[in-house]
Amino acid sequence: MSSITTSERLGNYLEIFGELEKRSAKQPKWLRELRDAAFARFCETGFPTTKDEDWRFTNVNAISHASFSMTHPQQRLAPADLEQFRLPHAACRLVFVNGSFAPGLSDTGALPKGVRVGSLANEIANNPAALESHLGHYIKFGRDGFSALNTALIEDGAYVHLPRRTVLEAPIHFLFASVASGNPAMAHPHNLIIAEDETQASIVEDYVSFGNAPFFSNVVTELVADENAVLSHYLIEREDLHAYNISTLRLQQARASNVTSHSVLLGGALVRNNVHPVLAGEGGECLINGLFIGNGRQHMDNYMLVEHASPHCSSRQFYNGILDGTSHGVFHGRIIVHKDAQKTDAKQTNRNLLLSDNAQIDTKPQLEIYADDVKCTHGATIGQIEENALFYMRSRGIDEASARRLLLMAFANESLNRMKSDSVREYLSGVIQKWLPDTVAKPTPGDGSAERRWEEVG
C-alpha cells in the first residue's frame, strides 16, 4: 500500500504558493517570513479531519479532495451585476472579485479625515510598516489548516484603519463576489480592521456568487478593537449551493471595548463560521449573535471560541438555527476563562427549529474555566414549529403558509433584533424574507410536538 506523498496531499497549493513567492519577492521580509511559517504549518497539518475535536461534525473532504484554481475569472462583472446586492445607506463599498480588490466596482464614498479604507494589497505595497505589528499577529495559524493556508497566501483583502475617536454612523460594506464558471475556483482573502481608542463603526462582510462551478472561500478577518471602541461586525453568507465558505473572525478586544459579531448564514453548500474573540482588557464586552437557515443538503457549522483573558468581561452567544430538508447545523460554543479572568460573565444560548425529520443539529457547549469567581451558563433547545400557535393563527384567518412564515420570521427576529444598526437590520430582514419561501410553505412532518431541551449552569 502506498502512502500519499506530501506533494499529492498538498495538491496545487505548492505551485500556488511558489507563484506568490515570486510575485512578492520585493515585499518586506517579515511578511515573507510570516507566509513561509504559515505554509510550513499547512504542509505539516493539511486540512482538518473529523478526527480533530473541533471538526468532529464537519467533513471537509469536498474541499481537501478537490482542486481549485486561483486564476482570474473569465466572466467580467459590471456594476449593474452587483446592484442587486447593494446595502442601502452604506458609507462605502469595497468589492472583491475572487479575493482581489476591484476598484472599478467599488465606491469609497466620503469618509472622515484620517480614515483609511481600501485594499490590503495596496497597503502592503505602499504602507507596509503600519501593518507589521498587526497583520497575522492575532490569527493563530497553528490552530487549523485553513488559517495556516490563508496566512500563507496573504495577498489581498479589505483594510480599514479608524484613527482615535472616529465615529462612523453608516456601515462599511465589503462585498466578496465568488465567480467560477466551468472550473472550480478559490480565494483566500485576509481582512484587517484596526479601530483605535474610542472609535465606533459597523462593518458588513458579505459573500455572494456568480457562475455555476464550485467556489472555495477561505477567509480570515482580524479585527482589533482598542480601548473603548464600539464595533459591530456583520457576516452575510448568501452564496449559491456550489460554495464552500470557511471563515474565521478573530476579534482582539482591549479594555472596555464593546464588539458584536452578527452572522447570517443563508447560502453555501458547506459553511464553517469561526468566531474567536479574545477579551484581553478589563471590562470588555462581546456579543456573538447568529442566525443560520439551512435547506436541502446544506451544512452550516458555527464554531465559537470565546477567550476571557481579563477580569470583569462579559460575553454573550446567541445562535438561532432553522433547518429543513437534510440540512445539518452545528453549534459548537467553546468558552475559555483564563486564570486571572475573575468576575467573568459568560452566557451561551442556541435555539433551533427543525422543519424536517431529516434535518440535523449538533449542539455542543464546552466550558473550560480556570478562574474561581465566574458566572458561565449555557443552554440549547431543539424544537419544531408550534402546532398550537399555527392553528391559532389560522383560526384568525391567516393561511397556513403565511402563518408558518410569520412564525419563522418571529424566530429569526430574535437574532435580527439584537442588531443595533437599523439600516442593516431592515436590509437583512428583507433578504431573509425573500430567502424563506422555498422552505416554509409545507406542513411539518412528524408529530410536531416533541421538544428537547437542556440547560445547565456552571
Binding site: Y392, M393, G397, A410
Partner: protein, 254 residues
C-alpha cells in the same frame, strides 16, 4: 337562511365519541348559550367548529351561512365570518399583538375581496377596541398572549373579535377564571358587539356570565347531546337545581 345549522353532529377523538348527535340552529341577531357539566362536550363542539383537525367527524353536517363548514380550513372559516374565542388562548412568541391582528384582519379582508388596511388606518381602530376592553396600549407591542394573565388573555380574545367583526362568534368559556370586574369588562365588550346581523354562541359552565350577557336561548349539553333547550330562565333553573337535574331527561330522550 340560518347563520349556523348543526345537524346530527358526531365527533370523536382517538375513537372516543364525544359529540353524539348535536342539532342546533342559530339565526342572525340571536345569542345562544350552551351550558353543561365538565366533559359534556362543550369545548369539543367549539373546537370542531373552529376546524381543529384533531377531531374526527363520523356523521353530521354543519352549515355556516349555508356553506359546508366541515369542508373549510380554519382560515377559510374565519374568512366566512367565524370567530372562536378560545378557552385557552395560545401564546405566539415573537409576533406583536398589533402585527398579528393586522395580518389577521388583512387576511380576512383579502379573502372577502376587500382592500387591505395599512398600519396608519389600522392602529386607531385597534386602539379604540382595546379601550373598549380596558386594555393598556402597552399590549400593542407585546407578543400575542405571551406572559399575559388569564384575564388579559380573555380580554385579548374579545379585542380580536371586536377588530375582526365576525358574523358568528363562539365564546368558549370566556368567563372561566375571571374575577367579577374582569367578567363585567368582557361582558360589556361582548354586549357592544351584539347586532341584528351577528350571532353568538356563548359556551359556559357557570350561569354567572349569563347575568351579564343575557342569551335568547339556553341549551344544556349532557354527554354529547343537547338534553334541554329553553329561554334564559333555563339557566336560572340549572343554577338552582344543578346539572344532575337535566341529566335524567337526556337518558329518557335516548
Amino acid at each position: 337562511m340560518s347563520m349556523l345549522e348543526i345537524k346530527n353532529l358526531h365527533a370523536s377523538v382517538n375513537n372516543h365519541e364525544i359529540l353524539r348527535g348535536i342539532d342546533l340552529t342559530v339565526n342572525a341577531g340571536e345569542v345562544h348559550s350552551i351550558m353543561g357539566p365538565n366533559g359534556s362536550g362543550k369545548s369539543t363542539l367549539a373546537q370542531v367548529l373552529a376546524r381543529r383537525e384533531t377531531y374526527e367527524i363520523a356523521q353530521g353536517e354543519v352549515l355556516l351561512n349555508g356553506k359546508d363548514l366541515l369542508a373549510m380550513k380554519p382560515e377559510e372559516a374565519a374568512g366566512e365570518g367565524l370567530f372562536v374565542a378560545f378557552q385557552y388562548p395560545v401564546e405566539v412568541p415573537g409576533i406583536s399583538n398589533a402585527y398579528f391582528l393586522r395580518a389577521a384582519l388583512n387576511a380576512i379582508r383579502k379573502y372577502r375581496g376587500q382592500e387591505e388596511l395599512d398600519a396608519m388606518d389600522f392602529l386607531p381602530l385597534l386602539k379604540e377596541k382595546m379601550r373598549l376592553l380596558d386594555m393598556d396600549e402597552r399590549f400593542l407591542n407585546r407578543p400575542v398572549n405571551e406572559g399575559f394573565s388569564g384575564g388579559e388573555k380573555k380580554r385579548n380574545e374579545i379585542v380580536q373579535m371586536a377588530v375582526l367583526e365576525p358574523r358568528l362568534a363562539i365564546l368558549d368559556e370566556t368567563d372561566s377564571g375571571l374575577d367579577i370586574d374582569a367578567l363585567k369588562i368582557v361582558a360589556n365588550g361582548v354586549n357592544s358587539l351584539r347586532s341584528p346581523d351577528r350571532a353568538m354562541v356563548v359556551v359556559t359552565h357557570y350561569q354567572r356570565l349569563l347575568n351579564h350577557i343575557v342569551p335568547d336561548y339556553v341549551h344544556v349539553l349532557v354527554d354529547g347531546r343537547i338534553a334541554k333547550s329553553g329561554g334564559p330562565e333555563l339557566a336560572l333553573e340549572l343554577e338552582e337545581k344543578g346539572y344532575a337535574w337535566a341529566e335524567p331527561e337526556a337518558a329518557i330522550s335516548k
